[in-house]
């Protein structure tokens, strides 16, 4: 990839001592190399984006910077000195505050306790409860959540609010470098705008931000410079003036992948749409939220969208039999859905949102992960017919485009994208009639996304029905025959393919009828 120019120093920040510089940073786990060679720097007063596919080493780099992992080689130069950051506390004392991808919060404690977590020593408290309340309010206010009651237990908060709490936790530490690792994914548009506003203000004060996101629009919006990681190497640092989506994509992917990414846009082939497979009849998600109907037909991909906490997740969980609607019922031609098991019997397969805690069995093999839900098909008197099971495993690998060293490899050794495809393969092994997917492309790299698009297209073309909940609007526009948009815990609008675009979706998500068509 010699044609990629590496611009080591940015014209925007000449001859400034970097706040942090990485020089050939390396980290391996046994024989797996997570970070091969990473070199770039962040100067005071800049917002620096870190981009790369999953498995490119971003998380590892952030863990080293936050004191969770030690580097295997290379140097981390903090404030002009070669530094090894021993643990998260040392990172904070140096002035590095990190918001991790996962929302690490404590349900049993209050909002205040969650935000000030870790400021105290083992026994000594650094400030009074009254002072804590004040600084917590200030920090939350930065992202427009100042109205949140600091005494409220965290368990009662929505996902967006939880993410807000983790951001506030980082903000109120005396930081010079704020690391945001995909920590805006659950925030709604308003909170995110507020946060970006604050980030720009911090930059004005000479503080720096390392910003990781999969969303190109965010990077183009806010980053001064962007460093691209690929296969554990820093391949380039580009300045704002040179940053375009295509340029970043090109740098992130190998050449073939970049072409594939551009070329493989699904064109929504004409699929034969059949009879309704799943029908929501007068469903009310919570009492008084307003009943609605929605039918999903064979051969159709129906998108499900909405701002965080507007009922769309509860709805697909009801379809999967994981919760009962307050009123009405979800019906299939095999009866009313009342439980997870009876939804399964009706041919509904559900993919939960959290791959790590609800999806894969990390130490188990790829084969086990693919077939675990359908073992009955390969067994006689409880004993497995291995030859048949392996043959089915091979078929599923091909069908789900999984890249793996073999059927026996532990699934944990696969990249996040491949794990997700294995997870999807497990559902396909059940030969379902309906796929109910809760944000399947979340945190998945571009290549894997393309593969998942293909899997869904194939599934629908073969007469399957898909309910696809996604937080990425572009994806919904690309894939769906129509999108059901939820607002205020009820179906607000169904936008058909010909009217489908991001503006229309956003309008409907905010409850504006102008661009949307009335709901059924």
């Amino acid at each position: 990839m010699s044609e990629i120019a590496v611009e080591e120093t940015a014209p925007a920040a000449p001859a400034v001592t970097p706040l942090v510089a990485f020089r050939g940073l390396r980290r391996n786990f046994g024989e797996t190399i997570a970070l091969a060679d990473c070199s770039f720097d962040i100067v005071p007063g800049e917002i620096h984006a870190l981009v790369g596919e999953n498995g490119s080493g971003k998380s590892t780099l952030i863990k080293i910077l936050s004191g969770i992992l030690a580097e295997s080689g290379g140097e981390l130069i903090w404030d002009g000195k070669v530094t090894r950051i021993a643990d998260p506390r040392a990172a904070q004392q140096a002035g590095i505050a990190t918001v991790f991808q996962e929302t690490l919060v404590l349900d049993q404690l209050s909002v205040r306790d969650n935000v000030v977590l870790g400021l105290d020593r083992l026994f000594r408290r650094v400030q009074s409860t009254a002072d804590e309340t004040r600084v917590v309010r200030e920090a939350l206010d930065t992202i427009g959540m100042g109205a949140l009651d600091p005494d409220m237990p965290l368990g009662a908060l929505s996902l967006a609010q939880r993410q807000g709490v983790t951001i506030a936790r980082a903000l109120l530490r005396p930081w010079r470098l704020l690391v945001l690792d995909e920590s805006t994914s659950a925030l709604d548009v308003d909170a995110r705008d507020r946060l970006f506003e604050a980030l720009r203000r911090f930059r004005g004060e000479g503080r720096s931000i390392l910003f990781v996101s999969h969303r190109m629009d965010e990077i183009l919006d806010i980053a001064d410079r962007s460093t691209v990681l690929r296969s554990g190497r820093s391949v380039a640092t580009v300045t704002r003036a040179d940053t375009t989506t295509n340029r970043l994509l090109e740098l992130m992917s190998t050449h073939e992948e970049a072409q594939a990414a551009e070329g493989a846009v699904p064109t929504a082939p004409q699929r034969a749409v059949g009879a309704a497979v799943v029908t929501a009849k007068s469903v009310e998600i919570v009492a008084g939220s307003g009943p609605f109907d929605l039918a999903v037909r064979a051969g159709e991909i129906v998108g499900i969208a909405g701002l965080e906490g507007h009922g769309q997740v509860a709805f697909i969980e009801a379809v999967a039999g994981l919760r009962n609607p307050a009123q009405g019922a979800v019906e299939t031609d095999r009866g009313v859905v009342t439980s997870f098991l009876n939804a399964a019997r009706a041919g509904i397969a559900y993919l939960p949102r959290e791959r790590k805690t609800q999806g894969i069995f990390a130490p188990l093999s790829v084969l086990d992960n693919l077939t675990i839900s359908a073992l009955g098909r390969f067994s006689r008197l409880g004993l497995l017919a291995e030859a048949r099971r392996r043959a089915e495993g091979m078929r599923l690998i091909a069908q789900s485009h999984v890249t793996t060293p073999g059927l026996a490899a532990p699934v944990a050794a696969l990249s996040g994208g491949n794990q997700q495809k294995v997870f999807l393969g497990r559902l396909l092994a059940l030969t379902p009639r309906v796929l109910v997917l809760n944000d399947p492309m979340r945190g998945v790299d571009l290549g894997a996304k393309q593969d998942i698009y293909k899997i869904l297209e194939q599934f629908a073309s073969a007469g399957g029905a898909v309910m696809l909940l996604s937080t990425e609007l572009a994806e919904l526009c690309l894939l769906c025959d129509r999108v059901a948009v939820f607002h205020n815990r009820s179906l607000f609008a169904v936008i058909e393919r010909q009217a489908l675009n991001e503006q229309a979706l956003i309008a409907a998500m905010f409850g504006q009828t102008a661009a949307a068509r009335g709901a059924g």
Binding site: R89, L104, V105, L106, D120, R121
Partner: protein, 322 residues
């Protein structure tokens, strides 16, 4: 200071059960609450309550932490106080209490070190120290014997008409209350709730867990002092039964075994419940073996109750979180 009663708190079922059995004991034997009876009741209840307290703290710190060595440690302290120290000519209260507490601290440091630094699973580590303490006790004291020094009558007797052991409870309660004023309790709940969140936030998770075992060790040592005062001698088998009751007391007290929740109030009620049950049984002159069966059955019932309450609460939370 505003004072609000939290009706959703974890300890209400335990307190209700305690009240019920308390009344039950009075009905069965009205002498139960006569002033003369306070002293033996409190002395009898003390090992149940204090070992349950000891067990509660590591369980609150989560991550599978529990301390199976609390009973045998109390027994070891009992042997040291009634046998070894008098043999060495050490009988003054300050030295004896200091040595007893030091044994508790060292034991806690060992358990905590094994669990956090060596990273041995808590159940294996504390079963190992359990065996070790039991063996040490048998080495020091092959059969019952020894004698408690006279000053221990302060604990076993009464001071100004108040049973001495009552002050031991007050001391522990005040110490725990003071600890709650420090950052430690919040740190403990955080480590127990999600150690990853605690660690990334900058909490020294290793020392939080070690301190939980140290507190357990100190409380077990205090139980050893109370044992010595109560029986006035040393008995190598005295501590072991309290492993089960300490765990049962935690469950009855409404403290979650997953960690990150609970406190000493519920645990005290849980431990006291077990004592009240034993008391009822011995009033009815039921064989000691049936008490064992009752403990097991009550533990299962408490688990079932906790689970029902917890599930209802979680369902409400899930419904609120659309």
């Amino acid at each position: 200071m505003k004072f609000k009663i939290d009706w959703g708190a974890y300890y209400w079922p335990a307190l209700a059960g305690f009240a019920l059995l308390f009344v039950g004991n009075i009905i069965a034997n009205p002498i139960f609450i006569s002033q003369d009876n306070w002293r033996p009741v409190l002395l009898g209840a003390a090992p149940f309550i204090i070992t349950t307290w000891a067990q509660t703290v590591p369980i609150m710190s989560g991550n599978g932490d529990l301390d199976l060595s609390v009973g045998p440690l109390a027994g070891l302290v009992n042997a040291v106080l009634a046998m070894t120290l008098p043999d060495l000519g050490i009988t003054d209260p300050f030295s004896m209490i200091a040595i007893a507490l030091a044994i508790g601290v060292v034991s806690g440091l060992i358990n905590g070190f094994l669990v956090t630094v060596v990273r041995v699973q808590p159940i294996i580590a504390t079963l190992g120290t359990f065996l070790t303490y039991q063996g040490l006790t048998l080495e020091l004291l092959p059969i019952s014997g020894g004698s408690a020094p006279p000053w221990m009558r302060v604990i076993s007797g009464s001071v100004f008409g108040v049973p001495g052991v009552f002050f031991v409870f007050i001391l522990i309660a005040v110490a725990w209350w003071l600890l709650g004023k420090t950052a430690y309790r919040r740190n403990l709940l955080a480590v127990g709730g999600d150690i990853r969140a605690a660690y990334t936030a900058g909490i020294n998770v290793m020392w939080v867990r070690i301190m939980a075992f140290v507190i357990a060790g100190v409380l077990a040592a205090i139980t050893g002092i109370v044992f010595t005062a109560t029986i006035g001698a040393a008995d190598p088998t005295i501590g072991t039964p309290y492993i089960l009751t300490s765990i049962a007391g935690v469950a009855l007290g409404g403290v979650a075994f997953s960690g990150g929740q609970g406190g000493l109030l519920g645990a005290a009620a849980g431990g006291a419940l077990l004592f009240l049950i034993e008391n009822l049984f011995s009033l009815a002159q039921v064989s000691i073996y049936y008490i064992q069966i009752a403990y097991g059955a009550i533990l299962l019932a408490a688990l079932a109750l906790n689970s029902v309450v917890d599930r209802a609460r979680r369902r409400r939370a899930a419904e609120a979180l659309v």
